[in-house]
Subunit: 137 residues, 2 copies
Amino acid sequence: MITKKAEYAILILAELAAHPDDTVLTSREIATRRSIPANLVIQLMPLLHESGWTTGTRGPGGGIKLAINPASITLREVIEKVDGTIGITRCLFSNQPCGNKSHCSLRDIWIKAQTNMLSVFEEASIKELARAMARDN
Amino acid sequence: MITKKAEYAILILAELAAHPDDTVLTSREIATRRSIPANLVIQLMPLLHESGWTTGTRGPGGGIKLAINPASITLREVIEKVDGTIGITRCLFSNQPCGNKSHCSLRDIWIKAQTNMLSVFEEASIKELARAMARDN
DNA sequence: ATATAATATAACCAATTAAGTTATATATGA
DNA sequence: TCATATATAACTTAATTGGTTATATTATAT
């Protein structure tokens, strides 16, 4: 399952992407505007910084801003950064087919299904999402 | 996440489908041949019976056999029977977009990704799987 | 300088889910 | 009627999820 934290990370980035370049928002602003628990925004920021997507400035007047073009951030990257390796089945967390078989047709199906799912996340960028969400109502 | 139980249910049906029509196997035989905890096979059988996929005969010489053509059982049906409604995200367990928006573009992405995944399970039948697994090694 | 606004990090907790075990009831064929 | 088999429920155990709490650190406006 894709966790709430991954969803929150996506929303944080989308909120930043919804403003003009170099707009600085405080974590509290982001939390309020996107209905995310404030502490979780604070908790997630180091991950987003680590990936080079955002930078933070401390002190009064400080806040968070995007560090790169949100068109180059895919949902897949964000989800994997927050949730770790994705696996729709326990089987896929291992690199090996289970048991003593060298090949498993059921595993092939898991892989195909997961690949199909991931392709959607790979083709969706934060920028597109932010644009689409701006039209939501 | 698709659970082990769903996977076990698929393997039970695949094991039955790997034998000639009307072959009766005991739950213990199935458990041994597919490396499934014996108690779980027993636990899963009522679900499979309920769906009309299998029937069981008690007593000595009894066992389990397929009740319908395994080509007409899709992996999606089996997974949903065992795990209940599938949702790759908490959001998708609700019928409504969250918050007070009537539309949510992020939800659209979750739905699209999940649909892509499910289509693989919908196109895969127990019969095909059993045939493919027979060739595994 | 110092108070304050902000991020950074770690530790903790409650609820849920997953996986499997245990126990018991019920049916049936030899 | 006994052995074999399915049917059903209750119960552990461990991991995960979603979130809270607490504390440290940094930087700037005054």
